[in-house]
């Protein structure tokens, strides 16, 4: 019996093997459609004029307009907060990677005093509720002059992104056999030279994936970013929570802003599709 699977007696059996229940495909695509429905609905809202949204319920927009997007790009409080978010998330991704890459290498290649404790300590910071850090962040960042600056938010988000980056990179790096390091050492490469010339190029896709996740988790964070900013570095997420004016909520504009903040994720999703689970599971899948 043990030999049977490998030599698959009939092609017909082989083709059918591993096949799912007949209705599995249908159920899956139904689920996928349900998943997309709220998203499409928000997109539908973003291209309707506000009179139509509040004028009465309709499934298909009566009139399509780009006015909400035009408003977004002409009002500086909207587009500048969008830019603020891009600036501090990019800054954060770069800074997190710079400190995390050597550390991840150390964790994947060496044992050293307290390595397990340190590794665990990093994890607890990734898992810590941001609400816990609100008060001290508010006070410390004000006293050192980082309050309401892009750099301040970027540093604050390193709280969870540095541990994330170390864990993901360590997962990727441990998948690369240590024999490569040893061969390079025999060939006379010093550690820094080996690292830059051989190792970094080998893990460049891992670095890309990690950078993406740092960007993403910083992009989605609201609580800390909102607490340590007021005007100059105010994130788009905070602007979106303050759309209530005297005339009520501007639903169309809110939906348009929502669509625009999804874009960074939607643009790269194709490239990271096989790594999404890995990124969220800290490189452990």
């Amino acid at each position: 019996m043990t030999g049977a699977p490998a030599s698959s007696p009939e092609p017909a059996v082989a083709r059918r093997a591993g096949r799912q229940l007949p209705w599995a495909r249908t159920v899956f695509w139904l689920y996928a459609a349900t998943l997309m429905l709220p998203l499409l609905w928000m997109f539908g809202m973003s291209i309707r004029p506000n009179e139509d949204i509040l004028g009465g319920f309709s499934i298909v927009p009566q009139r399509a307009t780009l006015d909400n997007y035009a408003t977004f790009f002409s009002d500086s409080s909207w587009y500048s907060s969008y830019l603020n978010s891009i600036v501090y998330t990019s800054l954060n991704a770069v800074m997190s990677l710079v400190v995390a890459i050597p550390a991840a290498y150390a964790f994947s290649r060496f044992r050293f005093a307290g390595d397990r404790h340190l590794f665990f300590w990093l994890l607890t910071n990734r898992m810590a509720p941001p609400a816990v850090f609100l008060l001290p962040f508010f006070q410390i960042y004000q006293s050192v002059g980082l309050f309401d600056t892009h750099l301040g938010v970027a540093i604050a988000h390193m709280l969870f992104n540095v541990p994330l980056a170390v864990w993901i990179l360590e997962g990727f790096m441990s998948g690369i056999p240590r024999e490569i390091d040893e061969t390079a050492a025999i060939d006379g490469y010093s550690l820094p030279r080996f690292f830059v010339r051989i190792f970094l190029p080998m893990i460049r896709s891992a670095i890309g994936v990690t950078a993406f996740f740092c960007f993403m988790f910083s992009w989605v964070e609201l609580l800390i970013a909102r607490t340590i900013t007021s005007v100059n570095a105010k994130p788009i997420a905070a602007t979106m929570t303050r759309t209530v004016s005297a005339a009520g909520v501007d639903w169309g504009l809110l939906a348009a802003a929502g669509v625009l903040t999804i874009i960074p994720g939607a643009v790269v999703i194709w490239f990271v599709r096989n790594y999404v689970a890995k990124g969220f599971a800290l490189g452990r899948v």
Binding site: M1, A32, R109, F137, A237, A266, A277
Partner: protein, 309 residues
Amino acid sequence: MTVTEPVEDPAVTAAEEPDRRPEAKPKDNRAWLLVLPVVVCVTFTALIPLMTVVNYSVQDIFSPSDRIFVGLEWFRSVTRDPEVRGAFLRTLMFSAQVLLIEIPLGVAIAVAMPRRGWTVSAALVVVALPLLIPWNVVGTIWQIFARGDIGLGGWAINQVPGVDFNYTLDSTDAWITVLVMDVWHWTPLVALLAYAALRSIPEPYFQAAQIDGASAWATFRRIQLPRLRGVLTIAILLRFMDSFMIYTEPFVVTGGGPGNATSFLSVLLSKIAVGQFDLGPAGAFSLLYFLIVQIVSYVFFTVLTRSGR
């Protein structure tokens, strides 16, 4: 009909695959130089703030110059505060419901996901999309979608005679909205994790099951489920942690209300900390909250480092 012996092997071999051998790593304390930047960085972003919180939690602070040491008084009052207790139970209840729904649903989706052909990529992209949406936008999406007047979801529910769904007024409706939103947002993560594990099962195992005439259930129970064990542990812990500290989505949709129906621990804590600026109680609350998360993290860490090697 059950599947014969060899088919059960994958779980065993998976556990024994020597992916990483920590004992083979050379010991070198100079590696500390490589982790030093991380330590400095995390000291500034995590350790110092945490010490500040400890400092708050044992003092009654009237002004920077006028403060008295109160010992564990704040801890006592926080653990007795009915509002905090309510939020704690609510958050636990929420996490439990999230796990009960998302884990089985995620596994079912993973099993149903296409496994070959171009549809694989399409399926991955569609399923991954909710995970890459900013959390406050997830809130915005559902804030619109679940409204009775302008949202498709709320509108559809209200078409049922006798139902008046309104998440801004009714606490049950608010709870359901937040729960459905979380299921929509995070079930894809469970599905993707499970799917990654399922794809690693070699095709011959399915062929053997086929030849043995195993039913779909037996194939799932004997071949697929054992492979999922490690991944599901990760999924359960991740989902527990993230749902236990949920803030942004309920904040956007319900703001913790109506009343305190969706006032979870993080929502309440940030209200006490930033809204009322009660340093002492907020500090004590934070530390207790942090402690719970720390304990779960430790379980998580043990599981991850064991299953990985």
